[in-house]
């Protein structure tokens, strides 16, 4: 399969502008500034069927079209490089190894949207990534691909790198905007949506790194070409970040619609140590867990939704038979509880309760009604929160109970985690 996003990363010094340009980089930007109409770019992106790669899968061209055209004044583009979803490490690969691909994607998008100031909000932990982006931006500015009057076209663009400070919720688009504005990273009420009221109250588009990295190829080679890859309604390639109990964890670029079986056994080398597959979270910790019966599901937005899960960010977390699903739910709930912004009641209070109940199941202090109680609390949270994190946070516990109810019952009946290893660790980690 022809690589689009990971095309350059194996080249020596792939992050440098020389390496990028020598492979034809910034050629599409030149073409665009040479006379392609803004509306045509947006149309191409729309027709390509590109869907947001950050997790929501929202059609990118459609999102772009929400920006009002007749409102005077500045508009902004924010590249969401927060990559906070547990299990996800695919944006990092582009940022560290092919930053110019991202910059070119941003530049073309900004041209289409009449944006003159763009921000890359990158998670604080990506030290190397932030450094490489900063270097890349100055390289691009030096060569005239960014800055004022780019390539003599009259188009100006300044890209700023803004580092986060350790908050998962700042990957949520409105919390990202709050953080960028210098305030506490708390999600905003929607409506209004960022396309009309975004950064500093101005129309703003927020796109994921991988989404923007697709733009140069789509504009260069056309919507039809892009739509020929993948499946209907789920076009293009996807960076799958596969981790967990596999022989060859890593980032694999494959067409959308590839089967889980293929990804797992042909590319990632199968389950480590030849063990048996138990469960998979196909798109990061916020996606419902699926089981070996779903091995042949197509990894794309629509197919995964049809089996009751989600593609999300394409972060495939693989768990084998040695995994305790209750422990999985506990660990992930702990993460969400820690990351909760604290604004709204259900998420702020409820996750702590869920965590303590799961801890009780693990350490043997739970009672039999706790499983129903867990589901009840989860339903008080799901759908009732200010931002989607509440819904995401209860997916680990809800989906593991749904698919592995017996395991939970066993925990309750046997007074603790049947997995000896888990029990010891749970005793150590008990609050």
């Amino acid at each position: 399969m022809e690589k689009i996003l990971l095309k350059n990363i194996d080249n020596p010094n792939s992050e440098s502008i020389d390496a990028y340009v020598s492979q034809g980089g910034y050629g599409t930007l030149k073409k665009v500034l040479g006379g392609i109409k803004q509306a045509d770019i947006t149309d191409t992106v729309k027709q390509s069927g590109l869907r947001g790669r950050g997790g929501a899968g929202f059609p990118t061209g459609l999102k772009w079209s929400f920006v009002p055209k007749d409102v005077p004044g500045p508009r902004y583009l924010c590249c969401n490089a927060d990559e906070g979803e547990p299990g996800t490490f695919k944006d990092r690969v582009i940022i560290e190894n092919d930053p110019h691909l991202l910059l070119e994607g941003i530049a073309i998008s900004c041209y289409a949207l009449s944006v003159e100031t763009a921000y890359i909000y990158i998670r604080g932990e990506f030290v190397l990534g932030a450094e490489r982006l900063a270097v890349a931006i100055s390289e691009a500015e030096a060569r005239g691909f960014l800055g004022s009057n780019i390539l003599g076209s009259g188009f100006n663009l300044k890209i700023h790198v803004h580092r986060g400070a350790g908050s998962y919720i700042c990957g949520e688009e409105t919390a990202l905007l709050e953080s960028l504005e210098g305030k506490r990273g708390l999600p905003r009420l929607k409506p209004p949506f960022p396309a009309s009221v975004g950064l500093y109250g101005r129309p703003t588009v927020i796109n994921n790194v991988e989404t923007l990295a697709n733009i140069p190829a789509i504009v260069a080679r056309g919507a039809e070409w892009f739509a020929s890859i993948g499946t209907k309604g789920n076009t293009g390639t996807k960076l799958f970040a596969i981790s967990g109990h596999v022989e060859k964890p890593g980032v694999y670029e494959l067409p959308l619609g590839v089967s889980l079986r293929e990804l797992l056994y042909e590319h990632a080398g199968g389950i480590r140590g030849g063990r048996k597959l138990k469960a998979v979270m196909p798109g990061g910790s916020s996606t419902p867990v699926i089981t070996p019966e779903h091995l042949d599901v197509a990894l794309d937005f629509d197919s995964l939704e049809a089996v009751g899960s989600m593609l999300g960010s394409g972060a495939v977390i693989v768990m084998d038979e040695t995994t305790c699903m209750v422990e999985v739910a506990l660990k992930l709930t702990r993460f969400y509880r820690h990351e909760s912004c604290g604004q709204c009641t259900p998420c702020r209070e409820g996750l702590g309760w869920i965590e303590q109940l799961l801890q009780g199941l693990e350490s043997g202090t739970a009672s039999s009604g706790d499983i129903e109680l867990l589901l009840d609390i989860a339903s008080s949270i799901s759908g009732n929160t200010l931002c989607p994190m509440g819904d995401a946070a209860v997916i680990p516990v809800e989906s593991t109970i749904a698919r592995f109810r017996d395991e939970y019952e066993l925990h309750a009946k046997q007074g603790g985690c049947p997995f000896a290893r888990s029990r010891a660790r749970a005793a150590q980690e008990a609050p």
Partner: protein, 857 residues
């Protein structure tokens, strides 16, 4: 645009932009909510108000969702009830079961909602999260364990008081509300957060553990402590005030800490009459003391005529007391020697009186300030002096209004000072006169005026921009840009500080204000909202009812009917009375509620005169300094115990509801007035507040309820005459203006290099606490303020003892450094116990100069 929606089957029509919660409220449907408050920005985070909207899969928060045409809302469906029950359970999960010991019990939203919508029994069995105990300020007790994170308190201090005292720290379930490093929750409005907090996380320290809220009788009243006259609700425990809260119906539902916590214990203080015999105070029965007052006044006025007696009164009094006093003195004792201005009053000419009268008629409404696009604060710090005025200025500023301030102190909090021109009072007067002259000249030259004012204005050369810029130390370009700012504002707010009314240049200031307003009208610039802060307490009432020696001062003075007023001769003003006392001509003086010994500008002369007065009688709440030398002292109930009415500074009549007193609710002053009336054998026909009020109402033609209780229950009635726009006559120059020469009093600067500035007692210094208040929540120490730069040059640090000395006297006091004070100035506010302003001010100069030295430890 009107929209048709359905809420729980009810058809409702609302304006576009209305939220579901607002629409439901209008339709009488109650939707529970915690974080929403009509005066604060929408947060939408508590999730208690989730409701069902047909066609939308997820429940929507009613407080933040705007309605659309044809929307069908259900606030009581099974899904809503389940969600509410879930959210409430999650709220009570970590909430301590403190109800038996929590003051909020009985008025707690969480309690109410859990009872109405929640589970009978919570299922959380783990340990609740707790926070360490921490004091955040003197008046508000914080119990973070009880907090439900609605952030109302944070939004209040950010959006309303603009003080940003509290903020949110941490995240997730260890989110806590607290104060920033080294700071405390201390602003003139801090008590409001205890009303806002839906649970017992922020409670009132003064009220703490005093009573259960359901035991309290709630009585509508008005705050008597400052001229704003906010609507209050007294909550009485066995008839005595347990706490005071704000009340809806006025400009805003908030009250300041002064009004909330200043009611004091009112049990201490001398309540027994005494007479002074050979320097010793002798307790005597009421009748004996009263008889002495009556006897001496009768004899003296018979021997030396009505001009030999006089009365000084406080403005911390009801309209009925003030009216009654001036009625008895004028009509029964035939003396016009009555004044409430005990500090520096000088006789006013007829022309000056007209200016004051016109300025009162031009007075806007406190809440109109909010709508202004520019606000000029003249010699005042409203948040500290008349806090609710400051709040409304803050709202204007928060909506984008331009703030300009002139005065020795920068107004607080910072957003209110905007463009600050540091100036002493006298310099400020010059600046204002100059700015108004410029606008007047523009109007006169515009060809749009019917009368010709040009020559008169041109002749006021002492107020030319060039000259004033020299005298006041402001660049001419700055003044010109200010003229532009004043002209270009479409709705200008002009707030004139109370301190101005202590100055001999008050009439010049008022005529400048009138000219400014009239000129703007002529030039088509727009409306001007004038707010003169006037003084203290019921000062508007004192002005409307004639408690001062003007030759004509409103109906009610003289024999009763308005037409009798014109021929009343002017009486003696305060300083004339002091003069007359010194000469031995003023032989008997009644002092009602005020303390001239401690207040009169020239303390030496004042004391000499007061000691010389043959018969000095004091009727007041406590034994003040003047009572300490008086021949007779008669006790008076506190202002919170006397029934009657007051007038707000914007001319609204409101009624007090008194708390129970051993001395009854009928002001003891009426006994005094009745007794004095009998000197002529007539007796006082106005027996009490109710009958006096009826008489005032008849004389003035007030269109308001006749019954005081009914008046108290409402939000007040606007009774004072108002003129929407001053006539263009006010652009012309006044005679007294030509003779006004501020800034030319030839002050010796060598020995006394600092200007002395003063102003009303500031709320945050706590000096305003009732003298017999049992609150010791804030250390009540006298202090003076010095600018940081001056202090540095003199080697003075914060907290040092300093001596401030003028040509008249000196004061030793603790120094506090301030960034908000004009360098070259020393500021000592009024109201301190020991460090009295009149030790420094002298006999009549508009500006006092002082020197400063650090005292050795």
């Amino acid at each position: 645009m009107a929209l048709n929606i359905k809420i729980d089957g009810k058809e409702v029509v609302v304006e576009q932009g209305t939220t579901i919660l607002q629409a439901a409220s209008a339709a009488g449907v109650h939707v529970p909510h915690l974080c929403y408050h009509s005066e604060l920005s929408i947060k939408g985070s508590c999730r208690v108000c989730l409701v069902e909207v047909e066609g939308t899969p997820k429940l929507q928060p009613a407080c933040s969702t705007t309605v659309c045409e044809g929307m069908v809302v259900r606030t009581d469906s099974p899904a809503v009830r389940e969600a509410r029950r879930g959210v409430l359970e999650l709220l009570t999960m970590n909430h301590p079961l403190d109800c038996p010991v929590c003051d909020k019990g009985g008025e707690c939203k969480l309690q109410d909602y859990v009872f109405m919508y929640g589970r009978g029994k919570g299922r959380f069995t783990f340990e609740k999260r707790t926070f360490p105990k921490e004091d955040i300020g003197p008046f508000v007790v914080r119990d973070m364990n009880r907090c439900v994170h609605c952030t109302r308190c944070v939004r209040f201090t950010c959006e309303v008081s603009l003080s940003e005292d509290v903020g949110v720290f941490g995240r997730g379930d260890h989110t806590s509300i607290g104060t920033y490093l080294g700071r405390e929750l201390r602003n003139p409005f801090s008590g409001n957060v205890t009303e806002l907090c839906p649970v017992g996380a922020l409670t009132d320290r003064v009220f703490r553990f005093k009573a259960r809220v359901w035991e309290l009788e709630k009585v509508p009243s008005v705050c008597p402590l400052c001229p704003v006259g906010c609507l209050t609700e007294l909550q009485l425990d066995s008839g005595r005030i347990a706490r005071i809260r704000g009340r809806e119906g006025g400009a805003s539902p908030w009250i300041c800490d002064l009004g909330r916590f200043g009611f004091g214990a009112d049990h201490s203080g001398q309540r027994r009459p005494f007479i002074r015999e050979e320097g010793t105070e002798l307790d005597v029965p009421w009748d004996v003391a009263l008889g002495m007052v009556t006897g001496r006044f009768r004899v003296i006025s018979k021997e030396s005529g009505p001009d030999s007696v006089g009365v000084l009164c406080t403005t911390l009094a009801t309209n009925e007391e003030l009216f009654g006093l001036q009625h008895v003195f004028r009509n029964v004792l035939k003396s016009n020697n009555i004044d409430f201005r005990v500090r520096t009053a000088r006789p006013a000419s007829r022309e000056e009186e007209e200016v004051l009268s016109a300025a009162l008629q031009a007075q806007g409404r406190v809440n109109e300030i909010e709508e202004c696009d520019s606000v000029l604060l003249f010699c005042c710090d409203p948040c500290e002096e008349t806090p609710l005025v400051g709040l409304h200025v803050g709202r204007a500023v928060a909506s984008g209004a331009r703030a300009i301030s002139v005065g020795p102190m920068r107004p607080t909090p910072r957003p209110l000072s905007g463009d600050w021109l540091p100036a002493t009072l006298e310099q400020g007067v010059l600046l204002l006169a100059s700015l108004s002259r410029e606008l007047g000249l523009k109007a006169a030259r515009s060809g749009k005026m019917k009368s010709d004012s040009l020559k008169g204005l041109e002749e006021l050369r002492q107020f030319s921009l060039e000259r004033v810029s020299q005298l006041a130390g402001a660049k001419p370009e700055k003044l010109r840009s200010l003229v532009e700012a004043l002209l270009s504002s479409k709705k200008l707010g002009l707030v004139v500080g109370a301190e101005v009314f202590e100055s001999p240049f008050v009439y010049l200031v008022l005529s400048s204000v009138l000219r400014l307003s009239a000129a703007r009208a002529v030039l088509g610039a727009g409306e001007t909202v004038v707010l003169s802060l006037l003084g203290e307490g019921n000062v508007r009432g004192a002005l409307e009812l004639g408690a001062f020696p003007a030759s004509s001062c409103g109906p009610g003075a003289g024999n009763g009917e308005p037409k009798d007023i014109e021929h009343t001769a002017a009486g003696k003003s305060m300083n004339q009375m002091i003069e007359a006392a010194k000469e031995g001509q003023l032989r008997a003086l009644l002092v009602f509620g005020t303390d001239p010994l401690a207040e009169y500008g020239d303390r030496e002369a004042g004391e000499e005169a007061l000691r010389k007065i043959e018969f000095l009688a004091v009727v007041s709440e406590s034994v003040n300094a003047t009572a300490g030398i008086a021949d007779v002292y008669l006790p008076l109930q506190s202002i919170y115990e006397r029934e009657g009415t007051v007038m707000t500074l914007d001319g609204i009549l409101r009624a007090l509801s008194p708390q129970r007193s051993d001395l009854g609710k009928r002001s003891l002053l009426f006994d005094v007035l009745d007794s004095l009336s009998q000197t002529t054998g007539e007796g006082f026909s106005l027996k009490d507040a109710a009958s006096t009020f009826r008489e005032m109402r008849r004389l003035h033609g007030w269109d308001c309820p006749e019954d005081l209780e009914q008046l108290a229950a409402g939000s007040g009635v606007e009774v004072c005459a108002k003129v929407a726009k001053p006539s263009e006559d006010w652009i012309a120059s006044r005679h007294f203006e030509r003779d006004s020469r501020p800034g030319e009093t030839g002050l010796d600067t060598s020995d006394f290099p600092f200007y002395f500035a003063t102003g009303p007692a500031r709320v945050s210094s706590w000096v305003w606490a009732r003298p017999f208040s049992d609150h010791q929540l804030v250390p009540r120490e006298d202090f003076a303020e010095i600018s940081t730069s001056d202090a540095k040059a003199l080697g003075i640090v914060d907290g040092d003892s300093v001596e401030i000395e003028s040509a008249s006297g000196s004061v030793r006091v603790r120094a506090v450094l301030s960034e908000n004070l004009m360098p070259g100035t020393v500021f000592l506010s009024r109201g301190f116990r020991e460090a009295r302003v009149n030790f420094l001010t002298g006999g009549g100069e508009p500006t006092t100069k002082v020197r400063l030295r650090k005292l050795d430890a």
